[in-house]
Symmetry: none
Subunit: 212 residues, 4 copies
């Protein structure tokens, strides 16, 4: 067998040298999440993460430029969308159930981590931008797709732009997540979504769950 054969068609052009350790990557993520269970992101040091992960500090720095970006990746790697839009029943049902699922998620550990990440991003526009790109905008884009479906279905007759509608729904939830003045309980979430959907056009009010 010749050399050219061994590097077959589908093989991507493998870099020379020792390949990146996958176990390092995952143990770093585990370490971050484990430490986040005990203290704030701000109070966690990279040294601590490296020690907890059994990895050298340089390895952490080679792959992430700071603690916030590492936390974002660890968070994304872990959650894999616990609050998806599930198409079942009316479009209103789909959206409402997603908002409730999101609230459930944010009441727990994931809300805590998200709170920490958003806090850290306040000190760095660059990190905030990365948070937008890797998390917030993707979620909002997905939400917008369903908002547009709702418009098409006549459930939303309002001329408000998608961003404003999304902020009306999720804004109060994030407000409570970050200000912590009250719990994000089910009745609160129900009040928010009821209020938003009742408002948007008479059809919406009339047809809120006509199919069921």
């Amino acid at each position: 067998m010749r050399k050219s054969d061994s590097s077959n068609v589908t093989r991507k052009p493998r870099n020379p040298g020792r390949p990146r350790s996958e176990s390092s990557r995952t143990s770093i993520f585990s370490a971050v999440l484990k430490l986040l269970a005990t203290k704030s992101l701000r109070d966690i040091s990279i040294e601590e993460i490296a020690f907890e992960a059994g990895v050298s500090k340089a390895t952490v720095y080679r792959w992430w430029s700071n603690k916030t970006q590492l936390a974002i990746d660890a968070f994304l790697n872990d959650i894999s969308v616990k609050a998806p839009f599930v198409v079942r029943g009316t479009i209103t049902d789909t959206i409402v159930s997603q908002v409730h699922a999101l609230a459930d998620q944010y009441r727990g550990r994931d809300g805590e981590i998200l709170r920490q990440i958003i806090a850290e991003c306040q000190a760095s526009p660059e990190d905030m931008k990365i948070f937008h790109q890797k998390f917030l905008f993707l979620r909002r884009e997905e939400a917008k797709r369903y908002i547009r479906i709702a418009r098409k279905d006549g459930v939303i007759a309002s001329k408000l732009d998608d961003d404003t509608i999304i902020d009306m729904i999720y804004g109060p939830i994030y407000y409570r997540l970050l200000l912590r003045h009250a719990r994000i309980d089910k009745s609160f979430v129900k009040s928010i979504v009821d209020h938003v959907f009742k408002q948007f056009g008479p059809i919406a009010v009339a047809n809120i769950r006509p199919q069921s």
Copy 2:
């Protein structure tokens, strides 16, 4: 009135020892605000504040247990309510104009500072509690008074509790303040308050129908 009387009445119970320097207090506040104009609260060190204020580090630590609590006091000392509830026109007018004034304020320097303070509070429940007591709850209580007036006037017929109504109004604004995905512009604020007030109360409900 005899001397003994007046001394009883007017004498304030002066503490022993050198009195606290008022000029230190104000120059520390000025220093914090000046530095907050150039960088995040997180990136400001107490050493820097002390130097900028021409004060020793110990003096800062004597009066504030950490940077966040100092920032809260500096902020409160400075703002003295730029977005008051002004009673003019209907109760709806009063509330709506306050929300707009608040949004105006948060678009500028005060929003930036508030963002920084809220971020820092995420790392410390104790600091968050102080923020609640010194700022958030006072503002919310004031808002509740006007919400109650609106209820009495029949403008709000909804059975939603005061906290939820407040979060519907201010939540989206704080959401944009903290997540920074979009500006808190006038049209956004108008959309929010219109939406909230159209919904509540019989008149609002009645007025929706004509569109259909």
Copy 3:
């Protein structure tokens, strides 16, 4: 009556104003000595002394310019010469018994304090000078008087100057006091004084204790 009369011979010219508190003075001395029983002079702060004495820091600073000078005064106020030259037996007896008494004293608490004071004086020529004037030179002068008597009595025939003879006797004791490589026990002191007095002239050797 003239002024000179009114301020009579024994009356000292009393200053106006509140007189210095004698109780403060003594309680400061007590505090210093008490603290010196637990830690080194270097590790004692003036704040601690003031607190322990129930006195304000300013009172300490008003009367002593630094900790070392205060310690010197506290030490002198306390010891009142525990190792005097007692004239009994021959002049050699007098000197030898004083050296032994001094060694006894230095083995204990007083040696510890003296060690601390001498150490602190190494950092300040001014303090060292005060130590010389208030302690060392007075003691050495007294010793010299007895050395001179010994010379006159023919016990010391050597032409060595008084200072050198004193340093031969006390040097090894202070050496052990300060370097702490060995105890200043009785046999060591005996060896030193025997050695010194045997040396000085045949009379000395012959008459070391002829009277007894």
Copy 4:
């Protein structure tokens, strides 16, 4: 010999990680000695040493637990025995010339440094112990070797133990070094050693008589 063999034999067990910087070590020593030329060890701060050496404070603390131990090492690194025992002439000549060389050394900068180190050691038994081990005991052991030779040669017939003899010789010198009441001049040193050596041994004793 094969490669694997040579690597076994000559390989020193190299520690992992970045090796200690030799240039930091020497520049720290230089900084200490330079600063000691201008002020007392007590008045030198570790911050100052680090700055002068162009090194971070943490690097100093990594290798020395305090200023005193650092000063001891800097001193030892620098002096490399300026007052050795040189075997020439009689054993008495050897010892006497060493004592004079030591006095010469102590009259200058080295005496000043030693004074500072001994002073600092008074506040810390641990530091004093290190001073004993790294400096004092080594020097005294060496001196004892020559004392023993002197005994064997009959120059010292006295039954006094080695430590006492050493303290008789060096004690007065250290006494003047530390109390600073008089200079350690050549005539003083000569008086001390003459006195000690005249005393010991039968010849010395015999030679005293003629004077009478």
